[in-house]
């Protein structure tokens, strides 16, 4: 494997350097029918799950086939996507915010062959490569973070629980029987790179044990002041210890009751690992939304404080999600989102309908906003 130079000269990094050019301009990539009708669209219709038509005031139509997929994607898979787009869509495609792929054609005749092609492709293991769906009052793809495939602080995996959950919710990816759209998100630690705090159902990785302290190495591996400063709850303070052999060392001590298990210390200081096979697991949150439709956007609420990391298929997590989805499908009115439904029937009823236990962990005690979540009325349901 010989090193192939791109032309970059490490001795003169500034030579010939191009910087700050930004992304490619979006309109280089528009399919012709999009370029021509941009801003002129009149209305759309979902013809069947995963298939949309948008009609322009020019009379043009664009048919979109939306397919799900893992956002973790190999170049072989992307090349296959390109091959499909070349065959059917004149070499254009787009991705959605929620990691779906959209193939667009400009006439109804081109739709069937495209759909058939997409639906026929499977991985060797048997799963679909390009399942069509993810529109309307159903479940669409899960937006998620890295997990065990790339991050250093996750309390759960991302791709694994997502695959397991989407397998369980697959019918609702390809059907539109729910009262409204249902958005599922996953973040593998409380940093929530994926911003799951406003999802109908959120899967959140959470550590439950404070960091371990590798005293002997801590001062060598870390800048102690940085580790102390990293802690959002000021739980870390400097401390001196004596090793069994009598050497005195500088290290830190953690005020354990103050620790919120965020892992920020570990980011700054690798001698403070906190991952744990039984300590780590999943929090389920529900009832959030971002759309302004009918009611204001809402935060998700914690409805299950902890579920174990039971790889490879996280059955406790998928069962819990399935129960919430089924109770919602049965109880909510047309157009009602999970959170709107829960508020209408009352959260006490939500726990009953979803067969979830309420525990003291679910009462907010974190800083000011906590107070506003306690019940300050005599109105409640038995």
């Amino acid at each position: 494997m010989a090193f192939i130079s791109s032309g970059y000269n490490p001795d003169k990094p500034m030579e010939n350097r191009i910087t700050d050019i930004g992304p490619r301009k979006f309109d280089e990539f528009y399919p012709p029918v999009i370029k021509k009708n941009k801003g002129k669209w009149l209305y759309h219709e979902i013809l069947e799950p995963g298939v949309l038509v948008h009609v322009s005031e020019t009379g043009d139509e664009v048919y979109t086939v939306r397919v799900g997929g893992a956002r973790l994607m190999s170049v072989s898979h992307i090349r296959e996507i390109c091959e499909i787009a070349d065959t059917h869509c004149d070499g254009h495609l787009r991705f959605t915010t929620r990691n779906n792929i959209e193939f667009m054609v400009d006439s109804r005749e081109k739709l069937e062959p495209l759909k058939q092609d997409l639906a026929s492709r499977k991985f060797n293991g048997g799963s679909f490569k390009f399942p069509i769906g993810g529109t309307g009052a159903g479940v669409t793809n899960i937006i998620h973070t890295q997990g065990w495939i790339h991050c250093h602080t996750p309390a759960t995996d991302a791709s694994g629980p997502v695959k397991a959950t989407m397998d369980v919710l697959f019918d609702d990816f390809q059907n539109m029987r729910l009262p409204a759209q249902l958005r599922v998100s996953l973040a593998c630690c409380l940093n929530m790179c994926g911003a799951v705090h406003c999802s109908d159902i959120a899967i959140l990785g959470y550590h439950r044990k404070p960091p371990m302290l590798d005293h002997e190495y801590l001062d060598k591996m870390c800048e102690i002041p940085l580790a102390i400063a990293a802690c959002p709850t000021a739980a870390i303070k400097p401390a001196k210890f004596e090793l069994p052999d009598g050497t005195k060392i500088n290290s830190v001590a953690v005020n354990e009751p103050r620790c919120m298990f965020c892992g920020n210390c570990y980011t700054m200081c690798p001698a403070m690992p906190l991952a744990d096979d039984v300590g780590d697991g999943i929090v389920i949150m529900a009832g959030g939304k971002v759309s302004n439709r009918i009611t204001a956007p809402k935060f998700s609420k914690v409805v299950v404080a902890f579920l174990p990391n039971n790889a490879p298929r996280w059955p406790e997590t998928t069962d819990c999600i399935k129960k919430i989805v089924e109770a919602y499908a049965e109880g909510a009115r047309k157009y009602e989102r999970v959170g709107e439904w829960a508020e209408r029937i009352g959260w006490e009823r939500f726990f009953e309908k979803c067969e979830l236990d309420f525990t003291h962990h679910l009462i907010d005690d974190f800083r000011d906003p906590a107070y506003y979540t306690w019940r300050q009325t005599t109105q409640f349901k038995f």
Binding site: V75, A195, C198, D277, R293
Partner: protein, 437 residues
Amino acid sequence: MAKHETPLLDQLESGPWPSFVSDLKQEAESRAKNEKGIEYQIPVDVCEDLLGVLELSFKHGRTHWKHGGIVGVFGYGGGVIGRYCDQPQMFPGVAHFHTMRVNQPAGKFYTTEYLRNICDLWDLRGSGITNMHGSTGDIILLGTTTPQLEEIFFELTHTYNQDLGGSGSNLRTPSDCVGQARCEWACYDTQAICHDLTVEYQDELHRPAFPYKFKFKFDGCPNCCVASIARADISFVGTWRDDIKIDQEAVAAYVGGELPSNGGSHAGRDWGPFDIQKEVIDLCPTECMWLEDGKLMIDNRECTRCMHCINVMPRALRIGDDRGCSMLVGAKAPILDGAQMGSLLVPFIKVEEPYDEIKEVIESIWDYWMEEGKNRERLGELMKRQGFQKLLEMTNIKAVPQHVQEPRHNPYIFWKEDEVEGGFQRDVNEFRKHHQR
């Protein structure tokens, strides 16, 4: 033969949903075969080792990655996330596994030519594994070694006219909804402004000078498909201030059951015949709609543009013509002081090139935040610490009732000296002339 046994991961190959495990295996195989005779610049078995280390995490219930320290390309403070494996002897192919964020085009439309180029580059110089896309919006090239970083950057910029995205305490890669490109509800061109601001603020994007990360997101309407209101320090949400356009014939067609409600989104269940009273008028949050002689009427002054009626009857109701956006600021995930939703700062602003007015607001917010924000304090937290008034003052925006859900609950107003007639300096002796001690 696979390099590592992966009995746990193998169980994720079954089931209907696309299996990332099958995909990783396909890439591992393709690299092993190397039919195109590529001179892979990072270990050939990188995908095998990725599967191996992931299997070990599945077994241990713990990640096997370490924080990557500071790696990057010369002159940029972001765009590369360093990553090292904590079992490099077992999995040498992923001993270094750094990620590069490539700034996606606005709207995430692509030509296959572009994507193939990225694939070729990543085949040669990286793991061949990507995220399409990361949750901020970038194309994520997942896993390469330190010596490849500059090479990739050089090729991206020289051959593909393409830059990296943001990471660290700087402007993160902005992202947008599909908008006017294919959505009838877009109140402004999300792609145009997303691209313009990304290009304008390249320095802020590549060279961390902020207290913490900062995000722009662009939603064409209040449906908020990119969730800007929940996760952007400044969210741009399209809106209008004139009247919803009504096509009464189409209204009648919905009432008559000729057109499917909500664009056909509820077709999976029999919800009974469409009932405009129950499904639209009664659900309008402001109760500003009614029927008069079979015609749908809207008191537009009372409408809060929630999009419900328009979503239900896309062929009958259309967004108004006097369009622009609302700017909300300070949204963030819970860490640390709890989650924050965006708070309305600019109720309405026109979104027209060259976006000078908008840039003025952005820059005044940045000036304030860079001056007052503590290290790792998001804008939303600074706003909480110093109050919304302070933000209004710094952005020179006049307070209006639209800024609040309801007025304050306490009278503890911190009057400023210049707001009170005569100021605070008084003569106590003058007072005493009329009030004995």
